[in-house]
Amino acid sequence: MAEDRAVGAPERLHPYFLLTGLGTSLRGMLGAYAAIAYLAVTGRLRYAVIGAGLLILFSAIGLFLYWRRFEYRVGATEIRIDSGIVSRTHRSIPYDRIQDVDITQGPLSRMLGLARVKFETGGSAGGNQEEGVLQAIPLARAEELRQLVRSRRSASAAAAEPDSIEESEPVYAMAPPRLILAGVFNFSLALFAGLFGVFQFFGDILGFDPFSRVFWIRLLAASAPLQAFLMTHQVVAVIGGLILLALIGVASGIVRSVLRDYGFRLDRIESGLRRRRGLLTRTDVSLPVKRVQAAIIGSGPVRDGFGFGELKLQNLARDEKQGDHVVAPLAGEAEVDHILGEIGWRPLARGADWRPISQAYVWTLAVGLSPFILLALLMALAAAATAWSPPADLGEMVDESLGAMLITSLIFLTIMIVGITVRWLAWRRSAYALDGDRILVKGGWWKRRIVILPLAKIQSIDIQESFVSRWFGISSMQFGVAGGSGFSAHNIPALPRETARKFRTELIVSMP
């Protein structure tokens, strides 16, 4: 059976997949849970139980059929995957096309000694995530497959890579103190705002509600000493609440960091870098150097002050959830330079010829927001004027809604002014430079980033103008780069029209 040897014997996923896969497939059916919860809440408990039972039953049957109809073969030149319950898919992945093998282990899989294997192929980003995935095979077999793929790939160049990297010094690793520090910086403003909203919503129960309309109206109407007392009282409550929220925010940041980045270790391997991380779910990912499209150094106002940043590499493939692969969650300048050096990139030139962007970056936002600012201002003024000299026939209800209107419009006004201020701060930090065979773009104030983009990786260059930016005679430049997430397109936001065109010509001329 020569053909069988070439194609390889059929193999199945490990039977424990029925166990590990159940969690995943149950997680995917949020709609069904909503229905069951609805039934349970409305008192039809029996139907809810039956529904939940049916859900588990059908998931299990589906999973069993998937397992029964899933086969993979490890052949001489390719890996074949046959899958599909009704419509069958026969996929063959030649070894030449497999960049590397990613191994992921969830907590349950680790207990059972299983691993999820993903064959990284040249498929561009945004593609089908399920391209070449073996959901659950024994860990030993996964390691074997990885070795096999590596040896096939490097067969032409040298012998299979010895697995001695464990002993060698990691390119970057995170000790526990660094991990905790990363967690502190991981403080999420979004979560903070979310919690703040929850506190507002359930404020009455917690006795903490600075948004109470009646409260503010009475405050305005009351005499001065009482007002002062209430004010102090309120301030104390607000400060206490904010400290509590901040503590929750820091704690959750540390928990998230530890869960994701525990045991973070970056190693140099033949084709590029290898990253291992995770407390409960361990992942083992390789990043071939050839596929790195851009490097992004992210930071925040506080982290930056301590000289720390996060290094991400934009890759053709996507990382677990986001587009870019984090290769160092919290690293100093020297460490960033060291990692860049390992993939053969020059360190970030500190004395680069940074060119500023146009101040119209701020003005375009201000002009865009001006109608809303004006509206909010008018509303606030109208509300304030009516509240201070109310017409005689104004009822209690109207009185209350006036206060709400005043506060809402003031909040909107503050948000917009803060937005413009942050934009101004970001403008002061924004700059770009041509650094030999690559461009450097930095910007942002709250979310700071420096992008290193090799000219060889630029696929297209757009110069865009909108009807607002045209008044200022400015354009924005946008670079088409492979991989990453669609939202994080690389761009230089505001350049005078002529400058943008000259810079583009400069880039085109220096492109390899």
Partner: protein, 174 residues
């Protein structure tokens, strides 16, 4: 009007790259393609307006307004817009890149170096066949701008451009 056009022309020029050929218009038949496409798009709102009119506005003072106003709007759009879209769509090939300029309110000026093109299509739909045009579709590896199109080319010209670019394609990724 001419001043506007001059301004547009100035914006589209690449300083320092004057030796490249000037920007070209696409085939005039593209205007008809746009007209037919817009007509097709407008059919649904016209019918919806007529139904709304007869079903809801039977006795109101706005009776007949949608039935007349929506087709009128459509007629204005179909007579005015394609001419403008056509006038503002230009392209050129230099010896190393494809340059496409389009749009007015949101003006976009794209360059794609030939060596960055992954693959190329020339597509022709039934409407395009009717008016003798074709669309060149250039695929790049970029997540942004993964597809750059040049619509409204004469089929021979589209094939010619395709052949020029094809010469330069080479795989970039291992």
């Amino acid at each position: 009007m001419t001043a506007e056009l001059d301004d547009f022309q100035a914006m589209a020029e690449l300083p320092g790259d004057e030796d490249g050929p000037p920007l070209e218009h696409v085939h005039p038949g593209y205007k008809n393609v746009l007209r037919v496409r817009m007509l097709v798009i407008w059919i649904a709102p016209i019918i919806a307006a007529a139904i709304l009119d007869s079903a809801v506005l039977e006795d109101s003072m706005f009776r007949w307004l949608p039935t007349i106003a929506v087709p009128l709007l459509a007629a204005i759009a179909i007579t005015v817009a394609p001419q403008r879209i056509y006038r503002r769509l230009r392209y050129r090939l230099t010896d190393r890149l494809l340059h496409v300029v389009r749009g007015w309110l949101f003006h976009t000026d794209t360059v794609v170096p030939f060596v960055r093109v992954q693959h190329l299509d020339v597509t022709r739909g039934p409407v395009e066949k009717l008016f003798g045009t074709a669309t060149l579709v250039v695929h790049t590896a970029g997540t942004h701008n993964s597809i750059v199109t040049v619509p409204g080319l004469a089929p021979d010209r589209a094939a010619e451009i395709r052949d020029v670019i094809r010469e330069h394609i080479r795989t970039d990724f291992d």
